[in-house]
Symmetry: D2
Subunit: 156 residues, 4 copies
């Protein structure tokens, strides 16, 4: 069994039912993620997607969230809740870029637990200058890494 | 100026730029809703939508979240982030049902602040028996109240 | 009845059972503040104390949390949980400075709901330069305002 | 290096500078744990203590948080903030019972990161019947396990 919070390989993700993903890790439901209905609160899935998005864009070189780097702004998120999750459950969360443009991208997310998909989601992310307005191109290295790993669609 | 957290009338919502909404209230950004980028965290908008959804379904009689009442399950949420929000900003959050079916409904949400729309969202909600599986019809009274107040679409 | 989130007078706080407090406001328990035990999560009381502390230090002129102002650092918090709280309950949270030194202070907090004290707490706060190390004296105006309003102890 | 979220041995905790602790695990700071000051929010340390407390009382057999088991109620928490923490930092959080009585106990907590203690805390926990009022003795097995592992003080 693989470790918590350490990046899984494409093969490990596939073995966990997450074919086509190259970035993901295992984690465990915590008490504070439950709500009064005694299962993982809906909004918490969005927090998981945010957490893995921040790791992903840092690891792949899109931004370091410091002054001279691009500002990545999320324009839209969606989440589909497929099955409830409970205290102490172990899951794998994974993400990938599905559409890559020069200064934006679309990611999708999946949460797999005990052989069943519990939630999926999507985010539209835009890369801006630090003024928060002007579009900024992705770093070439980040662009190429995503092309290689996630094989996203590239609109003409 | 209207009070915080008290339900606004259709007229007051309209005066705040939220035409067509019959349910909403004013609130204020809190420190814990900011993230490291110093603006309201994306996921917090979803929390605001959850908070107003819970009030709405209780006030309109869909469920009291107790044992004999329907279990309302959110199947899907979306959120569009239109402009950033900051510490201490005052805003109005509003919601309405846009599509009403016998045992489900679609809601939309809007956050208005200082004359500009900051975020909008949508949720698909299903009404179930306490087994979490069997569909359960809405209470007639809740159904009629929504028909009157929100005038949602009613698919054939 | 007074409004939500608007500052209450000393008289209004006293009428709500919070004698000796000059700063407080009403608020209401939200769904996301409950945990799996169906009451307000313990840690949420600390969030309420943080929220009112941030308002208090801004309103009283200790800091604006911007670059040239003091950095206020919390060194220690405590919280006593006296009785559980539930969804939609309305409460008053209040705070005051009990000990005032040239570059630090001790605050206490109280949560009153439906005539009973639900929680109390304390925080030790230190005022620093933006280097996060060197002590920085409170602004004279803030110091005098607290002396007048809260009548804290002033150690020799 | 030990894995994330898996229980560390007394020896591993000691090697991480946490002598005298028998229960702890490694974890990593997540983006949503930062606040607008760009470090881990104070209240988040209390969440970490809650998370490890829930694991500890379940693993050691105090309660399973289900109907027939004791209700564990936190009466008081404290936290001392010793040094700030930042995004992606890896830390060990540990806990132990320092005082054990027939139907209550006192725990302490420590967060160690990169060789320095970042925060410590304490909680007073009471064991009650499901009525939320009557004291209930700890299970003998849980009591004995704590006596053996944590060697707490036992007041006469």
């Amino acid at each position: 069994m693989t470790s918590f919070l350490t990046q899984l390989s494409k093969q490990e993700l596939s073995a966990n039912g997450l074919d086509g993903f190259a970035y993901g890790y295992r984690d465990r439901v915590r008490f504070y993620e439950l709500d009064a209905l005694d299962h993982v609160n809906n909004v918490v899935f969005l927090k998981w997607f945010e957490t893995i998005r921040v790791s992903y864009v840092q690891d792949y070189g899109f931004t370091s969230y410091t002054k001279d780097d691009p500002m990545l702004v999320v324009r839209r998120v969606t989440c589909d809740f497929l099955a409830p999750m409970f205290q102490n459950e172990e899951y794998v969360v994974a993400t990938r870029t599905t559409v890559l443009k020069p200064s934006s991208f679309v990611m999708d997310y999946a949460v797999m637990c005990d052989g069943s998909l519990r939630a999926t989601g999507e985010a539209v992310v835009v890369s801006l200058e630090q003024d928060g307005k002007t579009r900024r191109k992705h770093y070439r290295q980040a662009y190429e890494k995503i092309m290689e790993l996630d094989k996203p669609a590239v609109p003409a």
